[in-house]
Amino acid sequence: MLSNLLITQFSTLALLTPPVAAEYMALVPGAIVSVLALIIILVDSFHRPGTRRDYLAYFSAIGLALAGFSAYVLWDNTLAGPVFNGMLYLDKFGLFFAILACLAGGLAVLQAPSYMRLVRMDRGEYYMLVLFSVAGAIFMANAADMLTLFIALEVMSIPVYCLAGYLRRDGRSAEAALKYFILGAFSAGLMLYGISLIYGVTGTTSLEFIGRNLSIIIHDPDPAGALASGNLITVGMLLIFSGFAFKIAAVPFHIWTPDVYTGSPAPAVGYMSTAVKAGAIAAMLRVLLIAFEDPVLRGGFNGFGWLDVVFFCAAASMVLGNVVAIMQKNVKRMLAYSSIAHAGYLLVGVAASSASPEFFLHHDTVLFYLATYTAGTVGAFGVLSILGKNGRPVETYDDLAGLGLKYPVAGVLMGLFMFSSAGVPPFGGFVGKLYIFSSAVQVGNTTGEFSFIGLALVGVLSSVAGAYYYLKVLVSMYMKKADEKADTEMVMTSSAKVSLFASALLTLALGIFPGFAIEMARESMVDFQGPSATTQKVQEQGRQQLEEMRQKEASSRVVADGVPQG
């Protein structure tokens, strides 16, 4: 007997249909990664101790590539509306982040063998943890329900806590894990509390229904109705936002970042600063744009709402990240602060694009920026994870002294990643920043709201400071005298080579031919499921724009390929 209770809730009723075959496709990328992780546990448990496990890196990378590829195959087979009884979405937005997470994870696992040899910790579990985390990130980006979202968040985070404490011989690694774990669990608790309050107000955990019910409550013609739950909504919304802000390391929830990044193994940091951030951004956009999409909650021109919180977080992150990064002596710590600054740039994109439904499509700047950021950051940590000094991986600027000359490949690659992160053309970072800031300027111009232009200026100004500390790395690598007594080494395994060159290639490609990635990002936003009717109109316009653009592109290609006339 199916109890009446189960069908009383209209959300339950609407969604309680057995999944059709097409809906199972939503699981494919995540499932591939999870199954791969299981296979790796199996393979690793039969592994004789003391033998090399580099092939596991390749194995995981190929599997991740497969998962990414499956996401790409699914690209044109997305479904409208949530699938699996409203638990997941299968849209291009989620697939974009799936590809991004697979990319970050794949690049990070390929760097591992070098690093593991440097720290003498060659274990198979590393790959498994990364894979679990990637699966979590994928599901998180696809989540259509607070429950899926939260569990996926934990699936993503718990392996990362373990990765932070992976270096069992290193006390600092243990400390990093402890800090990350305690603060992670703490912020997860805060976030859960927020979710529970929102659940109480709306009676549902489904993002779309939360959004609808919230609008209804807020626009209740009887002011008493709105007043009774208004504060609860605000508190809940803010607590949920704080959970995401913690994961993407935005000021004032950034405080764990430097410590954790310093103590954790370098390739894992490369992973956790990109894929985790990407997953959190994806889920945050889902929650903010679906559940809290109501103009009153959004704020901006309609009063004070989450948009303003994002706005101030963005400004504070950019300034604090860039200023404090200058003062660092430890390269990993510097990169931690720079990742805070990057979170700020991302939030600039989020704030500007959320200013009004008509700018909804501008969120593609955030997606594109994440892609460029992923390529550059994973690469930078990759270079750090192949270089060793006195039997341990390099960490400080002094450790890097002279290594650029000694190992030209590492030096050149580091230069490339640093220039990209600093936003020097023609690397990916430049196009990403340009795209984000120009969109902010455009939004400011269209709405006449100068605060967005001010935000863009703060961003440009603070990124000038970036030139200083990114260049400092190169200065150490090229222009400082190497410590003669130190025993430096470069463990360049073939897999690390693949990873580094892939990231370098990607960084360059995103700078010189950003078209394909931008188009993908734009398509993702056009396909973003679950927003309100007004936003859907904007999406429809965007779809037409894309079509026109493609036609224009095709026609211009005809001209370019045309035979010259006399």
Partner: protein
């Protein structure tokens, strides 16, 4: 004939150096050394040929129109090539596109032509360097970036080139990175340039904000369209100001010129190519490209003129006191760039570009000559240890003399004509908004800022018709002061230029040889690959100026008005049309040949007396300089130490002592505190202290801050109600 809009050769011009750079950069180390040379020089030579073909096409493409007065005017238009849609999403679109017009074609010839000569020269100069492949790779990469800069059809492509040349300049200055000082010089250049680039970027953002486009062709429509100009007129001054700040970084003007003299740490051919002929002039190029925008921001023009003139003057005074042969040339370059900006500031864009060209010839020549000397002297750069090199290095000394005569403005040498054009530009500086009568006719300038339609009105009508029929006009105080002040400074600078250049020449090539015996024994003329470029550049320095005679000579000697004598003016007349319309070319009347002759003669006198004084002090009575130096020791020391500008910056920007010799201090100076100026250091220290407290490493405090963050946001959100 190819499509005018898809002119492939423009792409090829840019592509060639990139291919060269990639080949040399990736497999250069494994290639035979000769092969590296061939690839580097060959790629740039190909570019040169493609440039010639493109310019030929541009000329053939030109249309001839009869204007209202019945004079045939040539309209060159432009060729363009769109490689692909670079960033294209929604409303924001930028193509990777190139454009060729008269202004670009001049720069194109300089970059590829002079660039080729310098590549050729480098073959000999860098013959012994083990990482020559890297050098050539960088050099080709630089050419690529510079070509992007000048060929870019929109401002973003220009900006990429702008950043790219800065990057390559950094790489090349720090080429011999093993030397700490040189490495520091490279960083200094990069950082100072970044500060400038930031201003450029901000200017670009404002421009985009106002116009919604970065395409030069579309932007140009703003100049002639009354409706469009209304949009941009109120903020034009802001854009130009930011652009100019960007230019002060790249083109080494006050106050950001400090990097250029230090940049001489790089190999000499690099100094010749980057820090004399091409990169440093990109500021002039940029302002010329946006000449219509510069023109409507009338007060900023005065600022540009004064900054240019003062830079020219002060750099010249420093150059007099320097003893390092390359430092003299470096300050001379700063000084000459000042001239160009003076020309821009007074609205004589033609003169600015003209001087850009001649300066590229003679300054490249002199840098290469000095490189030849340094090469022969085993990397000795102190002029006090040289002398009498004439007999060891005949070709170098003769070509160098040509260069000196050219820069001193000796009649019929190229510098004579271009400097004369600038002097006349400064003297005749008249802007329609500065004309007293104009104030009554079109209203006060400050009022006009608020009412863009007034600006639009003048811009779209011919101001000459509006105000005067060619007779002398009264100008307001700003124009008066700028005009006379900059003219006098420029004339004095001309004299000083001649003086220090010949001081350099006499100390190096004439008199007794003061080198030690070991060096003396090995003195020799440079190889042919180095002397050929010298000779070619000498010929160019000699003849390059004949394309722009002064009007009074053209008039007086009855040259054909459309002939070669005014080639430069005709070549650029279309490009600077708006500016020339807007600017009353002379406040002395339409045909003030007398005044023009005054400018020419004063320049000539200044130059000749400079040469004479130099001859008197360094050839006739070599003891005099020492005596004078003794007499004004304090002043001389002050000037010799570059007015202690570096120290001043250090004092202003960084509180407390700076450990000298540490490369990092430059960063601290210019980025940390240079950006945030003065109180920044204290602010930073405070911020650091607070953050140190925050980032205590205690996980419980972190949890507190997170909660505090939530509560603060809650307070903000709750209070909205």
């Amino acid at each position: 004939m190819l499509y005018q809009d898809q002119f492939y050769y423009l792409g090829l011009i840019v592509l060639m150096p990139l291919i060269g750079a990639l080949i040399n950069g990736i497999i250069g180390a494994k290639l035979p050394r000769k092969f590296v040379d061939v690839i580097a020089c060959g790629s740039i030579l190909m570019s040169f040929f493609f440039s010639l073909i493109s310019i030929k096409a541009l000329v053939e493409n030109a249309t001839h129109v009869k204007n209202a007065e019945g004079v045939v005017e040539t309209v060159y238009g432009h060729l363009s090539y769109t490689a692909y849609h670079w960033i294209y999403a929604g409303d924001f679109g930028v193509d990777l596109a190139f454009m060729l017009d008269p202004l670009t074609s001049l720069l194109l010839l300089l970059i590829t032509g002079v660039g080729f000569l310098i590549h050729l020269y480098s073959v000999g100069y860098m013959a012994d360097d083990p990482s020559k492949w890297r050098y050539f790779s960088y050099l080709n990469l630089f050419c690529f970036a510079m070509l992007l800069l000048v060929l870019g059809k929109n401002m973003l492509v220009t900006f990429i080139g702008w950043e790219g040349v800065g990057l390559c300049s950094y790489l090349l200055i720090g080429f011999w990175y093993t030397d700490d000082e040189k490495a520091a010089a490279g960083q200094k250049a990069f950082i100072v340039n970044r500060v400038g680039d930031f201003a450029f970027l901000v200017g670009m953002f404002i421009l985009y904000y106002e116009t919604q486009t970065l395409d030069y062709i579309q932007l140009k429509e703003f100049a002639t369209n009354a409706a469009l100009i209304q949009q941009i007129a109120p903020v034009a001054w802001l854009i130009v100001l930011f652009m100019f700040i960007g230019c002060t970084g790249k083109s080494a003007q006050i106050p950001l010129y400090v990097w250029l003299p230090d940049a001489m740490a790089g190999p000499t051919p690099v100094s010749a190519l980057i820090h004399a002929a091409t990169m440093v002039t990109s500021g002039v190029f940029l302002l010329s490209r946006l000449n219509w925008l510069v023109t409507i921001s009338y007060e900023v023009m005065a600022v540009i003129a004064w900054v240019g003139a003062l830079t020219a003057f002060f750099a010249a005074t420093i150059a007099i006191t320097q003893n390092d042969i390359k430092k003299v040339l470096a300050y001379s370059t700063v000084s000459q760039l000042g001239y160009m900006f003076l020309a821009v500031g007074v609205g004589s864009f033609t003169a600015a570009v003209f001087h850009l060209m001649t300066h590229a010839f003679f300054k490249a020549l002199m840098f290469l000559g000095s490189g030849s000397v340094i090469h022969a002297m085993h990397h000795e750069q102190d002029m006090r240890k040289m002398g009498g090199l004439k007999k060891y290095m005949p070709v170098t000394s003769k070509t160098f003399l040509v260069g000196c005569l050219a820069i001193s403005g000796f009649p019929l040498f190229s510098g004579f004509f271009s400097k004369d054009a600038i002097l006349w530009g400064a003297l005749s500086n008249t802007h329609v908004l500065g004309v007293v009568g104009a104030q009554e006719q079109i209203g006060d300038i400050t009022v006009m800022r608020g009412e863009p339609s007034a600006v639009a009105q003048i811009l779209t009508t011919k101001p000459l018709e509006l105000i005067s029929a060619g007779g002398p006009v009264d100008v307001n105080w700003l124009v008066q002061i700028t005009s006379w002040g900059t003219f006098i400074l420029a004339v004095i600078t001309a004299g000083m230029t001649a003086f220090y250049m010949f001081r350099l020449y006499f100390m190096t090539f004439e008199g007794e040889c003061r080198a030690d015996e070991h060096t003396k024994a090995h003195l020799h003329e440079s190889p042919v690959s180095m002397t050929i470029p010298l000779t070619v550049l000498a010929v160019l320095s000699l003849l390059g100026g004949l394309t722009g005679w002064p009007h009074f000579i053209v008039h007086g000697l009855h040259f054909p008005p459309e002939g070669f004598g005014l080639f430069f003016e005709h070549w650029f007349s279309e490009l600077f049309q708006v500016t020339n319309d807007y600017r009353i070319l002379t406040r002395f009347g339409a045909h003030a040949y007398g005044w023009e002759a005054v400018a020419t003669v004063s320049g000539l006198i200044a130059g000749l007396s400079g040469i004479g004084l130099s001859w008197y002090m360094y050839m006739k009575n070599p003891e005099i300089p020492g005596l004078i130096q003794e007499r004004i020791k304090a002043l001389h020391g002050f000037v010799q130490q570059k007015y202690k500008v570096d120290e001043f910056y250090g004092f202003v920007f960084v509180k407390g002592s700076i450990k000298s010799g540490e490369g990092m201090t430059f960063f601290d100076k210019y980025i940390l505190d240079g950006v945030l100026v003065n109180g920044a250091a204290a602010l930073m220290a405070t911020a650091g202290r607070i953050l140190r407290h925050l980032q205590s490493g205690n996980v419980q405090r972190y949890a507190t801050y997170i909660t505090l963050g939530v509560v603060l946001a809650l307070v903000a959100l709750m209070l909205r109600m």
